[in-house]
């Protein structure tokens, strides 16, 4: 057992510390008041948060995002990705995101978590977008995600989802509309995309696919 909880935290090692006394706590509180210390239960939480803020992904995109809620949700998406193998912590964070930011916020974070946004960004680069256009395209996408992105889930009714997508496209006329799916919903995603394309005009579809993800970009045809 470590005799020094500060050393334990700094070393990144979770160790028990059994030497707490009232006097020692008072000593720490003096240091706390001098802003020399912070107290944290599970140091891993703050280490993970700091880690996400140092990722290249955050480094690339933070300059495009001014809105403080979106900045936090973006970092939550990265954190969800980091916690994917820890189902209890993952579910707990999803609940907290949903409680504060509602389903819209959770969808945003999941869009980042699943790498869909990264793929959208690559898609923009592949289309030859200029740096100036990027400055508006990226925040536009992130701020209007509810109107331009849809996730296919296992329980979705194909006809209802097709209606929802068609309605959103006609209502918002986006340059790109994105239909996202993972694993077991990839087949349903393809069917829905096919039905949508039969109902709309002026768009062409482009597929991005991996073993576990299928994303359709419905791009407005430029004249």
């Amino acid at each position: 057992m470590s005799e020094d909880p500060v050393a334990s935290a700094t070393e990144g090692v979770t160790r028990g510390f059994l030497g707490w006394t009232a006097d020692r706590i008072k000593e720490y509180v003096v240091k706390f008041r001098n802003r020399e210390l912070a107290f944290i239960d599970d140091v891993e939480t703050i280490n993970t948060a700091k880690e996400q803020r140092k990722t290249s992904e955050w480094g690339v995109f933070k300059k495009y995002i001014d809105d403080s809620d979106l900045r936090i949700l973006f970092q939550m998406g990265l954190t969800l990705r980091k916690l994917e193998k820890h189902s209890k912590r993952l579910e707990s964070l999803r609940e907290k995101i949903k409680n504060k930011y509602k389903l819209k916020g959770l969808h945003f974070a999941q869009f980042i978590q699943n790498g869909f946004f990264l793929r959208y960004y690559t898609h923009l680069l592949e289309k030859g977008i200029t740096p100036e256009e990027l400055k508006t395209a990226v925040p536009d996408m992130l701020e209007n995600i509810e109107n331009t992105v849809i996730f296919i889930s296992q329980s979705d009714d194909e006809e209802i989802k097709t209606d929802q997508i068609t309605t959103k496209i006609y209502a918002h006329n986006p340059n790109t509309f994105i239909i996202c799916s993972t694993k077991s919903t990839m087949g349903k995603c393809e069917t829905i995309k096919r039905k949508v394309m039969k109902r709309i005009t002026g768009y062409e579809s482009e597929l991005y696919k991996t073993d576990i993800k299928k994303i359709y970009f419905l791009n407005k045809i430029e004249h």
Binding site: A22, R35, I40, D41, I46
Partner: protein
């Protein structure tokens, strides 16, 4: 540079001492004001469990130690 003190294994009686030293209290489960009113997490607006604390200096900000609250704090106040 602020050092992080891990209080993961701090017994509850010492957590009570710590909170009282900082001007707060606890009903044994949640962090409270001296008046007994539950303190809410600045970002999630949920009561803060005494066994899941994150306490930052400055104006003594007590948070529930979860990724959303911690990232929100770092976003608002910068890295510690």
């Amino acid at each position: 540079m602020t050092d992080i003190v891990s209080i993961k294994n701090m017994p509850i009686e010492y957590r009570m001492i710590l909170l009282k030293e900082l001007g707060y209290d606890s009903d044994g489960r949640f962090v409270t004001e001296k008046s007994g009113e539950k303190v809410l997490d600045r970002y999630t607006r949920e009561p803060i469990l005494i066994n899941n604390l994150a306490i930052f200096p400055g104006s003594t900000i007590i948070l529930d130690n979860n990724p959303l609250s911690i990232s929100s704090f770092l976003e608002e106040f910068g890295d510690v």
